[in-house]
Symmetry: C2
Amino acid sequence: MATYFILLCIWKVYLMHLAIDGYGSDVEKLKDRSLLYEFLDSYPSALGMTKITEPKVLTYAGKVPEDWGLSGFVIIAESHISVHTFPDRLYINVDIFSCKQFDVGKALEDVRRVFALKEVKQWTMERGVDALLAQTVRVP
Amino acid sequence: MATYFILLCIWKVYLMHLAIDGYGSDVEKLKDRSLLYEFLDSYPSALGMTKITEPKVLTYAGKVPEDWGLSGFVIIAESHISVHTFPDRLYINVDIFSCKQFDVGKALEDVRRVFALKEVKQWTMERGVDALLAQTVRVP
């Protein structure tokens, strides 16, 4: 007589996404390309993430002169950190999207300190996919 | 006698961020660099957004072999579209972050169609900053 077992296998891709809107920042910090580059370059490793590109920082100026600002981006393993600044609005938005869990409170404080934010608003999203696979195994 | 008026001025930066997690996609579509590039290249103008960089698409392979995938990104005026695919998980995440309002339902349907998604989960965030400035104006 053969015996059968059911083998359960759980796999999971877990992603945490922290979106931050920051207000009342320092205009000089929001104009500072080096500060933004340095943040994008160093912050992934502070969170235990792995950069897979160099950061990219560029200046945008469009139809509404007061909406000019910097945009910065770094791709990390299957996720990213992005920043857009609006110096004339003293406003910034930062997205930290990671394939590893991280301390949201600490990240929020770090972003607040680096960009001298007076107020912040944040959204935290738990993203990803998981599944339970069941397989019947026959033991002779 | 002079007359005084109070002049009110409202300025606003309005940003809409749609985050999508898509499940049950077609593995071939999630591996297709050309499809992803074409999406990042053409979709901003379909939403009335202005690209300020060319799209960037790269392949990631890390410690967990099944978590390999494509990452793609395009910066648009003060915002961005990003995509990360996980072909072996039939999973994708897409962020459409725009300085213009757009039809969330249509964007969701477009993403669902392009990447052949069976199920989606989404988050919509209204981001940005506004302020009411009051100024006293003296009329002689």
